[in-house]
Amino acid sequence: MKLTLSILILILALLININTNVYSQSPPCFPGFQGVYYQMDDIVNCPPYNSNMSLDVFIGYLALDSLSKYAGYNEYNEFMNRQSYNDTLRTMMRYIYKTVEYNPSNFLCFMYHNRYNSAPADEYFYGLIKNVLQESPSPILDASLIGSFFIAQIHVDSIYSYIDSLAQIAKNCRDVIASTNQIFKGTLPSYNNNLPIIDPTIQFTYANEWFLQGFESPTDTLFELENGKSYIVFLEYRYICRDSSHIYYEIFPIRCSKSRTACMYPIVNGNVIDTYNELGFGTSVNINTFYTLLANRINEIKNYTP
């Protein structure tokens, strides 16, 4: 029995090793792709309603699906431009936060399939983040919370640098393998949905060029993660391509919230360092205080009632 179990674990470990060691591999639908990618089974039902989801998640999918099929993005945009940080915006934040959090991979899948509608759901999703950035009193914090698929405290185990020969801008890339200490939103993505997760690690990619905003100032500098150090990260899933049964995606630090450090904040001597105080918690905050403040804000968003 022990032997069988050991062999089974060995096979699983081998499979995972093969699958996660993707530096020299590419998804079958994207020959030449460089970097870490994830694979998931394509969803059959779209939107991915199920009887276990909460009413808020159901409404979130229903609203996005209806908007994409029946509304015009211009009208929606005009409507949203008239909103301040009011009941409408805060209620939308609640629904979308919960919808993404419920099953991030399915949300990505939904956005892919929904793109065939006249006004795709991703335009509404990223449009909402843009509105949050413009109206929220804590713009980067709220936009990062809404837009992220996965938020966690991580410990960097290894960094692999490479030049992406396919890229036109984001050439200087880093693939990061990190263990997760505390997860605030989402669940650890598995390389393949059918395999169990053995180690609580996550792999993601970032590019140096993202940090160069354009204007020359002290902030116009590169941001690098370092081996052996801990960080708070806000990550998003990005679609790469699909084949007949799978969707392939990669994981980036969130880009749409306009953070100067792509929402990656180092933890030094037990304090979270947010050099530009983007999150509004201070430039150096005790990790436990940070946990509390972040959890409070998440609860405010998720439980908002007008």
Partner: protein, 368 residues
């Protein structure tokens, strides 16, 4: 000999065409002097201003004018994977890409009479298959990666990374309308680039390449989207300008609107004569009184044609909606809207009265 004459004739026709195009360059542009447009300022923030050339500390990000576009055919798209369509297809013809780049350059240069000037800034145009290159690769047709130093755009491929215009060629960019479609860029004459026109998916999903490049080049020049915040006053979200963020499918090349022309020429050729607009503002006589007012404002306007339902809205200086009366049902002839604005604080406000097709607007002052 016949061939020689034919060539002369063709040259003559072409010359006339060029002359005819140039005749319209650098001429008077009608602008409403009160109308503001959004620009990218040197601190990276978008603000509205009616006088961009006068802005200092921070000023508006400018590009050395005129800008030329370059294109390396080796890095062009050539083959595009239409994952739900006919598979791998050769899409672009290099010579046509060149033509559309010049089309975009000409649209802006012509406004200031600079269509024949030597370019002072070279910006590369590239296609990318890599999702990392685009901030939102699933829905964006293209992005201008505008990077600047000392408030001047980094040109000529210099800097790390340089300013660049990226066109989306990622596999994820694969919508909309139906499962056999992908948005395809076409040239100015609406020809498809080496794509079988009989393929169903193409018919409803074409975007004009010259328009797309013109829009992105507008960003390089410092212009921002009209239909995103900050919304400038008087409200211009209904303007059908090239700098609106939503690309329109299935259309031939668009001409620059008065808004596009004014936004650009105020920044790059302020010497060009700008005069008051002969637009709806003067065609429809609008009278507001008293102004400044403490609370009650009367707005009078005359409708000479068929009266249609109107929407009456008021915005503050930052473009936020502060009053929305919903639909207003006017009469033919003289109309008066009397509204109590005692709930507003002191300041300048902008009102907009618009139908589905037309909009007219003005401003008033609350002083208590």
């Amino acid at each position: 000999m016949k061939k020689f004459i034919l060539l002369i004739l063709l040259f003559g026709v072409f010359s006339n065409f060029v002359d005819a195009q140039d005749e319209n360059c650098g001429v008077h542009i009608n602008c409403d002097p009160n109308r503001e447009y959004p620009y990218r300022f040197c601190d990276g923030i978008t603000r509205c201003t009616a006088n961009p050339a006068d802005e200092v500390n921070p000023g508006v990000v400018k590009a050395p004018f005129p800008v030329c576009l370059s294109y390396n055919p080796d890095k062009g798209p050539h083959n595009v994977m239409l994952s739900n369509g006919p598979g791998l297809v050769e899409v672009f013809d290099d010579s046509k890409v060149e033509a559309d780049m010049h089309c975009a350059e000409f649209q802006w240069n012509c406004l200031c009479g600079m269509q024949n000037a030597d370019c002072l800034c070279m910006i590369n145009l590239v296609w990318t298959q890599e999702p990392k290159d685009i901030e939102d690769p699933t829905s964006r047709v293209a992005e201008a990666a505008t990077r600047w130093a000392g408030c001047i755009v980094k040109c000529n491929g210099t800097g790390f990374p340089p300013s660049i215009i990226v066109l989306n060629n990622t596999t994820g960019f694969n919508y909309p309308k139906n499962t056999n479609s992908r948005r395809i860029l076409v040239n100015s004459d609406c020809e498809y680039y080496k794509v079988n026109q009989n393929w169903d998916g193409l018919a409803n999903n074409t975007l004009n390449l010259c328009d797309i490049i013109t829009h992105e080049l507008g960003h390089i020049y410092g212009l921002k989207h009209y239909n995103e915040k900050p919304i400038c006053a008087p409200i211009i979200t209904l303007a059908n300008g090239i700098m609106n963020s939503n690309a329109k499918a299935n259309q031939a090349k668009r001409e620059l609107t008065d808004d596009d022309k004014c936004a650009f020429s105020r920044l790059y050729c302020n010497a060009v004569h700008v005069e008051n607009s002969d637009s709806l503002f003067s065609k429809i006589q609008v009278k507001t009184y008293p102004t400044p007012t403490q609370s009650t404002l009367n707005i009078e306007f005359t409708i000479n044609g068929v009266a249609v339902d109107l929407i009456f809205q008021v915005f503050n200086e930052t473009g936020k909606l502060v009053y929305d009366n919903g639909y207003y049902f006017p009469n033919q002839g003289l109309n008066r809207i009397t509204t109590d604005f005692s709930f507003l604080t002191n300041g300048i406000y902008y009102f907009k009265i618009h139908s589905m097709k037309n909009v007219f607007s003005g401003k008033f002052v609350i002083a208590k």
